[in-house]
Symmetry: C2
């Protein structure tokens, strides 16, 4: 890495590690959960709330931002950090995943992808070079290589084709990035659910001088065991001194099990999306506030929570807000969920330092399994 | 008034007054703007934000709360203050206005109104006695008499019929309230746009020992001059030592002109509703953030505002959030609007103390008229 970007591991516990990934804009404590700020906003949250919960970095989506409001526009306005009022590190994805899942009339070639915007039908092209250019225009601290992510299950041949294309795009992405001081670029391991392909991808990317390595193409419909198997398969072939980022994952259980297998960074829409749909993640497990059993329940979600939204409002009130489609329901439950995710990560970091991660994970899982007694 | 509820006028400036309406739960500085918390939430706002902006009291809607989650349920959960996490004074309307505007299959008799819920079709009855019972169950600090509000324009005969019915309901409401310590009940002047009816209503209510008097049935479609005429007509017939509340009004201009005519309290959905529709109230006038002219405008809404949402985000960003239908757009613009409304009220209170209200109003109006230069 350049001197301006460093990754220091402070402690190990089995395959798990805790440390700090440092940028001029700030430190990212790992293992880290990155809230997703798709369209330059972590939905239903003020940025100072996101920060106060312990988030050191948020994720922005290249695909969404290039379509609206446009990368050149954000650059002219001073970059994404200023635009969204988040002065801390930002990771941007490459746009590859969402081009495949959201855009219309797309055409994939060796050079890249041409597609139609899902917003207004305008034509766009995304290539490794354009993706890196957009991410630089946004001012992203951690930029991701442009890749092709296939849905699982898929044929081995399809997984292999996409993996090899992603490797060629990795080389072009790395070259297009070309050492921007104080910024980093990560490669992305692909290869579907085929161990040999995953290993080949990991090895090839490890030789390419990325600042970190991501595992992509998981949490796309496969069972948790398949995901964990792939992590275990890949991990020995990733440079141990570089950060490992598992993209788009997952439930709190996914996070803890992945941390035990050596993952340092995560992003996922789950806590924010669930919060907009009446679901709360708590140390008692996931609670569906839409359920009628909360109608007369005067208890808060968790009186010991660090989050005011979990302490200062009754379940009956949250149920009422959810049933009434009130914006405050989304605000409070997103807050609760991001707080819980960050608390789980903080607990994992502390447990690794104290070499008791397995015990910590068991305790947290036991809390979910125990659930709660009725009011 | 009872000793537990006092209204002290500190200064006059022409017909305008400034003072404090005191309850065991807290003081309301007048002239006061009450944000509307229809369904036990000021939409898109945390209660501590509402408080920090200078709101001393919020309004709850009896009609909405009786239908969902139900008055008896809120009482069992400890009352509306605890339910919505707002420990300061709450004013509740009587339900009369919304029964007429929102419910289905309603039937009006001397006794009250039977109607079908717009939420689930269930049958309800609202009478003066039931309205007061519901408001007491909610724990409302300021309860409003049950009245019938007609839409303007209407025939003089219709205005007279509704006014007289409202007077009979006022007597029943006052009797049903029966001196709850630390709480207040207000009568509501009706009479459409007919001066003689308004005067008759005001005089009759003034004899009924209410803690305050409201002017209802305005801001229902009539021009501003008609509204101001009615205020001027009514005001000499209201007890000067009791608070005067103009219901459901209005724009910042409506507020200032009404304050100059002796109004002490206001409520209106305008700042919160406008905030959910991309409109910002500022000292430069109303700004429509949906407008394409903001696309590349890096300036904040008002760099001198007391509200972070008006200072820390560019118009380009707010435009982007509005166009993208992001929840944060509604959160930020509602915040901006309530901040501006409270600032206007604070300025008016100060100006009355300094006997320069007319100058203050002229300055504020000049700011709106001047607007802004292009970026």
């Amino acid at each position: 890495m350049t001197d301006d970007v460093t990754f220091t591991i402070h402690a190990h516990d089995g395959a798990a590690r805790t440390g700090v990934l440092s940028f001029p804009r700030g430190d990212i404590r790992t293992p880290a959960f990155m809230p997703v700020g798709t369209a330059a906003t972590v939905k239903a949250m003020y940025t100072d709330q996101v920060r106060a919960l312990g988030a050191d970095v948020v994720l922005g989506n290249t695909y969404h931002l290039m379509l609206r409001p446009g990368a050149e526009r954000i650059a002219a306005l001073g970059g994404l950090h200023k635009f969204m009022n988040w002065p801390h590190p930002i990771l941007t994805d490459s746009g590859g995943f969402q081009v495949m899942s959201l855009s219309k009339l797309r055409k994939l070639t060796e050079n890249g992808v041409t597609f139609q915007s899902h917003v207004d039908g305008a034509r766009f092209e995304l290539t490794p070079e354009r993706s890196m250019e957009i991410q630089a225009l946004l001012g992203s601290d951690i930029q991701m290589q442009f890749d092709e992510c296939v849905k699982l299950p898929c044929s081995d041949a399809e997984a292999e084709r996409a993996m090899r294309l992603s490797l060629r795009w990795a080389e072009r992405s790395r070259k297009a990035f070309f050492g921007k001081k104080g910024h980093a670029v990560f490669g992305i391991v692909q290869g579907g659910a085929v161990p040999s392909l995953r290993i080949e991808s990991a090895k090839a990317l490890s030789d390419m001088d990325f600042h970190g390595l991501a595992i992509g193409g998981l949490a796309v419909g496969e069972p948790q065991e398949v995901m964990l198997d792939m992590i275990e398969t890949v991990m020995p072939h990733l440079p141990a001194h570089k950060p490992h980022y598992l993209m788009g994952v997952g439930t709190p259980d996914d996070l803890l099990k992945s941390i035990m297998r050596g993952v340092d960074m995560f992003d996922c829409v789950m806590p924010t999306r669930a919060g907009r749909h009446g679901l709360a993640y708590t140390r008692f497990g996931r609670i569906n506030l839409r359920n009628a059993r909360h109608t007369d329940d005067g208890r808060p979600l968790d009186e010991l929570s660090t989050c005011p939204a979990a302490r200062d409002y009754s379940r009956a009130y949250l149920h009422h807000l959810v049933k009434s489609n009130e914006i405050l329901a989304m605000m409070l439950l997103t807050w609760v969920n991001l707080a819980y995710y960050q608390d789980v990560m903080a607990g994992a970091r502390q447990a690794i330092v104290e070499h008791r991660l397995a015990d910590y994970v068991s305790e947290v899982q036991a809390g979910w399994a125990r659930g709660e007694t009725a009011p």
